[in-house]
Symmetry: C2
Subunit: 387 residues, 2 copies
């Protein structure tokens, strides 16, 4: 199996795990910074490693449009193209397509849409998405799914769920037996290995849909796990639903997912959101919040959010977070960071983005330690630098 | 003296020197990246050190407006505020004021102007500029001068020159005897040293004006050197004049500057421009070109300029510069850099800006080596990585 369950917290449903991929092992629970277009916004691969990121995200749809598959293939895959030798998970981009303001037409065969860039028409099928992800050579591939927004009528939620299952089956078919059923290897693929060999080491996850309806979530989870994937994601959450409803659905659906596979909650969230979901048994998270907030000058700290443009910090010589030992916090004052945002220097958004990713990764590290010590129930985000 | 002339190239008028400042020694000829608002655009202090920058620029006028002196004083000076412990040179900002589209009124007493930010009125005098620079605690202070653009009628050039001399005299008066006349120290000031002690270690340079008129340049050089400063700058060049005329004026004016002081050519230039000016005996250079071009995707390389958006590079797996061993060139292809610019990822402009500063610093290092070996005459910019 690609996933090993190492320890189960005795105070919550949180799990400590190890996910083996072709580009290295990932300790879970883990946060995955979002690098939609082949770069985590404003940060370099070197900084991502300094911040102890174990894995980053890419987006098949975006990379398919720009730079296009030829260029990435020519570079020897996404890892080489972006100079990142650790694991990459690629989202299909289905979420982006279904969020498009412009033209899109969903059929059982696939989804037809216009590029948000030049209006050109494209038709994505589940098979095409896997094919794109094979060229990208990501370590974890997400199949094409249909993600609905909140609120969503039950009838349409059921249609989207059925289509997601149908697409999942086709994705699995084109990918072949899951790695979990084979000998998982964590050695990187050979530089000159043909694509066919490389993608045998790619993991394929299944995505559970069903909006906020328990019976639909149960149906979806049973169908998707029935097909059999290397890991399971909950999609269609973090799309505008109330938090209580979200956690009810997560808590309910987790019960239908196998213990011995990684569980990925797509698109979540704030530090508090992630902690809550870990307690419910989820293992993997991605979100644009730390980098997007970073670019807008909002920092996550052990004392809560700091909106650095606030006049309160004009003369504040302290670091963003007194508990933090990242490059930003070791070298720069709130006063200086505020100045950089006021005068629109790129360095400002770089430094806060870096701190935020560092904060998230440290938070997850502290969460893992708390699970190891069976004390996650009482863990607070303010303890993110506790050890 | 703060400046030591180490070696004179036998093939040109180029000089190898060492300039001692309160925050460390600077080997000359040197290039100084521009950090107008307290940050070199898109780069961190750590990266500036990786690129082997010896000294950076700040701008008194800009920093006086934002964040304002109170904040920088509160932080313990500009070095601490921006977390840069190597030398800083501060320009007065006169050039910026005289380039303002909005209101400004030059009198012998000083210059009245409206802030480009909020329209507030300010009155800068030579004394005020030195006072600002004392608070900033820069290692090298430039006095207020009047910089004219090209072309400039001789009558006005003479008026501006006379005013520059008058202002230089007042700047010197308020600063006191130059450091070159005292014991120059290169130990950093104590953390708790009062401003009065700190600014005793600040160097004050004089600025020679006179537009493109040889007799005016001679008059200005004689007057400014007569007052006596720690170093001498040529101002009013790189303001639109033809290159031939520029180098004639540099070559002519250098003859009136003392051998045993550093010579700074303000606002220049491209790699070729700098090499030319070094050959004429200039020692220090600053220019926004490497960072501005970097942000626009133009890289300086040992084979000339590379405009990275060019379709030519879509599939180019080579680095920006095959001769370069900077982080950008060691890790990323032209193909990837082009993609980053196409999708407007901040990482793209960061990586090219970094490379350009690295390139400039390496060029100057190679130039110093060529002077040491008396072979600058035949040196070409393409040899910037020659050793």
């Amino acid at each position: 199996m690609s996933f090993t369950l190492i320890h189960q917290d005795s105070s919550t449903k949180a799990r400590l795990g190890l996910l083996k991929t072709a580009h290295g092992d990932i300790e879970t629970p883990t946060f995955m910074p979002v690098g939609t277009q082949g770069a985590v916004k404003a940060l370099s691969p070197k900084e991502l490693k300094e911040a102890e990121s174990q894995i980053i995200l890419g987006n098949a749809y975006h990379l398919y449009l720009r730079p296009g598959l030829d260029i990435i293939k020519n570079s020897g895959g996404l890892h080489k193209f972006i100079s990142w030798d650790k694991p990459i998970l690629t989202d299909s981009g289905g979420y982006q397509i279904f969020s498009l303001a412009g033209f899109r037409k969903v059929k059982d065969e696939g989804v037809e849409f216009q590029s948000h860039l030049d209006g050109s028409r494209h038709f994505l099928t589940p098979e095409k998405v896997v094919e794109i992800e094979n060229v990208l050579g990501s370590d974890i591939m997400m199949p094409l799914d249909e993600c609905v927004h909140y609120p969503c009528e039950k009838k349409y939620a059921k249609t989207a769920l059925d289509r997601t299952t149908y697409w999942a089956r086709r994705s699995k078919l084109v990918h072949g037996p899951c790695l979990s059923g084979r000998q998982a290897q964590s050695t990187p693929p050979q530089a000159d290995a043909p694509t066919a060999q490389v993608h045998r080491k790619q993991l394929l996850f299944g995505i559970v849909q069903g909006a906020t309806y328990e019976d639909l979530r149960k149906q979806s989870a049973e169908e998707i796990t029935g097909i059999g994937f290397d890991g399971y994601a909950l999609g269609g959450l973090s799309v505008g639903e109330p938090k209580d409803l979200r956690y009810n659905i997560v808590s309910f659906t987790v019960g239908f997912l196998p213990e011995n596979c990684a569980r990925y909650l797509m698109g979540l969230g704030t530090p508090e959101d992630i902690l809550e979901a870990v307690k419910l048994g989820m293992d993997m998270f991605d979100c644009v919040i730390p980098t997007r907030y970073g670019r807008n000058g909002t920092a996550f700290t052990s004392e809560g959010k700091v909106v650095i443009r606030n006049g309160l910090y004009a003369q504040d010589l302290g670091p963003l977070d007194a508990q933090c030992d990242c490059y930003t916090c070791k070298n720069f004052s709130r006063s200086y960071l505020r100045h950089l945002f006021n005068v629109e220097e790129i360095l400002g958004l770089r430094l806060v983005s870096f701190h935020n990713i560092y904060f998230y990764n440290r938070l997850l590290k502290s969460i893992r330690q708390a699970i190891r010590e069976n004390r996650l129930k009482d863990f607070r985000v303010s303890q993110s630098y506790a050890y």
